[in-house]
C-alpha cells in the first residue's frame, strides 16, 4: 500500500513538473512572438520614415533625379500596405517596392562628389543627413527583426514545442530580406 502511495505522489510530482515546463515554454515562445511583432512594427516605421524623407529630398534635387526618387518613394508608401504584410497574401511586390527605393536612392547618390556638393547647401545638407539616418535605421531595424525571428524559429524547433503544439496556429515568422545598403556617398 505505501508503495502505491509513493508511486502516486511521484507521478503527481512529475506531472506538475511537466505542466510547469510546458507553461514556461509557452510563455517563452509567446514573448518571442511578441518581440518579433514589435521588431516588425519598428522596421515598418523605419521604412515609412525612409520613404517620407526620400520624398522630401526629391524636392531638393534636379527634376529628373527628383522624379525618379519621388516615384520610388511613393510606390513604397503605397496605399498603406507595408512589408510587414508580406507573409500571408503573396505581398512580394511590397518587398520589391522597398528594393526599388533602395536602388533609386543608390542611383541618385552614387557619386560622392555630387553628394559633397549637395551637402554644402545647408537646406539639402540637412535633408541628406536625415536620409542617411533613415537608411541606417532601416538597416538596424531589419537586423534586429531578423535576429528576433531567428530566436523564435529556434524555440519553435524545440521538441517540446512541436509535440505539445505550443505554437498553436501562429504562423512561423519569416525573415525579411530586402536590400538596405547605403550608397557610398551617404555613408558618414
Amino acid at each position: 500500500m505505501p508503495d502505491l502511495l509513493g508511486w502516486w505522489s511521484l507521478t503527481a510530482v512529475v506531472l506538475v513538473v511537466i505542466g510547469w515546463y510546458l507553461s514556461y515554454s509557452a510563455a517563452r515562445l509567446d514573448r518571442l512572438h511578441h518581440k518579433v511583432e514589435s521588431a516588425r512594427a519598428a522596421l515598418d516605421a523605419q521604412l515609412v520614415r525612409r520613404a517620407a524623407v526620400s520624398l522630401e529630398v526629391a524636392g531638393a534635387l534636379d527634376p529628373a533625379t527628383g522624379l525618379m526618387l519621388a516615384g520610388a518613394a511613393s510606390e513604397s508608401l503605397g496605399d498603406g500596405q507595408t512589408v510587414a504584410g508580406i507573409d500571408g497574401d503573396g505581398g512580394a511586390p511590397l518587398e520589391e517596392a522597398e528594393n526599388d527605393l533602395t536602388r533609386a536612392i543608390q542611383a541618385a547618390f552614387e557619386d560622392p562628389e555630387h553628394v559633397a556638393r549637395l551637402r554644402q547647401n545647408p537646406v539639402t545638407g540637412d535633408v541628406l543627413d536625415a536620409l542617411a539616418e533613415a537608411c541606417t535605421r532601416v538597416q538596424l531595424a531589419r537586423r534586429f527583426h531578423n535576429d528576433a525571428v531567428a530566436q523564435a524559429q529556434r524555440v519553435r524547433r524545440k521538441r517540446v514545442v512541436r509535440w505539445a503544439r505550443l505554437a498553436g496556429h501562429a504562423p512561423s515568422p519569416p525573415m525579411i530580406e530586402i536590400d538596405d545598403s547605403l550608397p557610398p556617398g551617404l555613408v558618414t
Binding site: 514573448r31 512594427a41 531578423n146 535576429d147
Partner: protein
C-alpha cells in the same frame, strides 16, 4: 528620452566598461536626455547624481578574472524599484551575461531593451554550462551591440544571433588638446616611451616590453620607459638588472594626467598578448597624437587599419617589438606621418559620433515597443522576497 543604463561592475574600481558607461551617460545628459545609471556601489561611497547605487559589490571570480558584482535578493529588489521609479523609454544593459545587476535587470524588465557586449574573452566551458540558463533571459534583448568585430564574433560563436558593431567612444579633444608635460617629453637622445595597463597582469604585456628594453637601450642608451598603471610590476621587471633605472613607474594616474602623458611621449607601446576586445587606450593615444606601436592582435589590427595608423609587431615577440620601436624612434618623419593619419581617423571614435549611433539604436527599438516595464512573472517572485 528617458534612458536607464545598467553597469554590472562597481564604479569604485576603474575599468573599461565603467568608463564607457560613465562617458555615455554624461554625453547623453549633455544632449538633453534624462539618464539614470544603476551600478554596484556602497551606500556611503560618494557617487555622481545620475548614479543609483545598488549596494555593496562582492568580489567573485568569473570568466577568468575577479570582478566586483552584485547579486541576491537585496540587489534584485533594488533593480526592481529602480525600474519602477525610472519609467524608462529604453533600458540599456551592459555585459548582460555577467552574474550581476545586468542579468537581474534583464530578468526583471520587459520592453525596449538594448544590450552591449564588451568582451571578446569568454571561457567557452563556463559559457557552455551557462548557456541554457542565460538564453531565455537574453531572448528579451531587442537590440544587441558589440563594441568591436572581435566582441561580435565571440557573441555569435557562444550565444548565436548577431549584433551591430558600435565602437567604444573617446572624448578625442580632451586628449588632442591636453597640455604636454616637460617631465615626460623626450629628446632625440633620450626619447620617451609610454606603457598603460595593469603591471601584474601578464596579458597586458609588460613582461614582453621588459624583455625588449635591453635591445632598445643598446641603440638609445638614454631612452625612458614611462609605465602607467596599478599593480606590482616587480616580477615583470626583475630581469632588467642595471637597466631597471630607465623604467619609471608612475602608478595609476587620473584621466587628465594620462592625457598629458600620451600627449608628451614619443611612442606609445601596446604589447598586450590577448583578451583585448577593442583597445581603447590605442584610440586615446591616437587622439593625443602619440605614434602607436602595438602587438598584431585582431582587435588592434582593426583599430590601426592593418598598420596604416600605427606600427604592428608579432604578438608576444620582444625582439620584433624592439626592432619596430628602434625603427620608430630613429625616424621622426615616420612618427609625424603616423600621428597625423591617426589623428584624423580617430574622429570616428569621438563620443559625438558614437553616441549618435547608440541613439539611432534606441530610437529604432523604441519605435516598435512601449516603454520599459516590469516583467509580471518575475515581479511575483520579487514581492515574495521582499516580505
Amino acid at each position: 528620452m528617458r534612458i536607464g543604463l545598467v553597469c554590472p561592475y562597481s564604479f569604485d574600481v576603474p575599468g573599461g566598461v565603467q568608463f564607457h558607461v560613465r562617458d555615455l551617460a554624461e554625453h547623453l545628459i549633455s544632449g538633453g536626455h534624462k539618464v539614470s545609471v544603476l551600478a554596484p556601489a556602497d551606500d556611503d561611497t560618494p557617487v555622481p547624481d545620475y548614479l543609483e547605487a545598488a549596494g555593496r559589490a562582492v568580489p567573485v571570480k568569473y570568466n577568468g578574472s575577479v570582478a566586483r558584482v552584485n547579486f541576491g535578493p537585496v540587489s534584485a529588489t533594488r533593480v526592481w524599484r529602480w525600474l519602477a521609479d525610472g519609467d524608462f523609454d529604453v533600458l540599456h544593459i551592459h555585459e548582460p551575461a555577467t552574474p550581476s545587476l545586468s542579468l537581474l535587470a534583464l530578468w526583471a524588465a520587459t520592453g525596449p531593451i538594448v544590450a552591449t557586449f564588451h568582451t571578446a574573452l569568454l571561457r567557452s566551458r563556463a559559457m557552455r554550462a551557462a548557456q541554457p540558463l542565460l538564453r531565455p533571459s537574453l531572448e528579451k534583448i531587442s537590440a544587441r551591440i558589440a563594441v568591436s568585430e572581435d566582441a561580435r564574433r565571440t557573441l555569435v560563436e557562444h550565444l548565436g544571433g548577431d549584433a551591430v558593431v558600435i565602437p567604444n567612444g573617446v572624448y578625442v579633444d580632451r586628449f588632442a588638446c591636453a597640455e604636454t608635460d616637460p617631465r615626460w617629453k623626450g629628446t632625440a637622445d633620450a626619447p620617451t616611451v609610454a606603457f598603460v595597463g595593469r603591471l601584474d597582469e601578464p596579458r597586458k604585456g609588460l613582461p614582453v616590453l621588459a624583455r625588449a628594453i635591453p635591445e632598445v637601450l643598446s641603440r638609445f642608451p638614454g631612452a625612458r620607459f614611462l609605465v602607467l598603471g596599478r599593480g606590482d610590476g616587480s616580477e615583470a621587471l626583475e630581469d632588467l638588472g642595471p637597466s631597471r633605472s630607465c623604467v619609471e613607474l608612475l602608478g595609476p594616474l587620473d584621466d587628465a594626467a594620462k592625457a598629458s602623458l600620451l600627449r608628451s611621449v614619443d611612442v606609445y607601446v601596446a604589447p598586450q598578448t590577448g583578451g583585448e576586445s577593442f583597445g581603447i587606450v590605442l584610440v586615446e593615444a591616437m587622439s593625443a597624437g602619440a605614434p602607436v606601436l602595438a602587438s598584431d592582435l585582431g582587435a588592434f589590427q582593426r583599430v590601426l587599419d592593418g598598420g596604416q595608423l600605427g606600427r604592428l609587431f608579432r604578438v608576444g615577440d620582444p625582439a620584433a617589438l624592439a626592432g619596430e620601436l628602434v625603427a620608430l624612434l630613429s625616424d621622426a618623419g615616420l612618427r609625424t606621418r603616423l600621428s597625423a593619419r591617426a589623428g584624423e581617423a580617430v574622429r570616428r571614435y569621438d563620443w559625438s559620433r558614437v553616441a549618435e549611433q547608440v541613439l539611432a539604436v534606441y530610437k529604432t527599438v523604441r519605435d516598435g515597443e512601449d516603454r520599459v516595464g516590469e516583467d509580471p512573472r518575475t515581479r511575483g517572485l520579487l514581492s515574495r522576497w521582499r516580505d
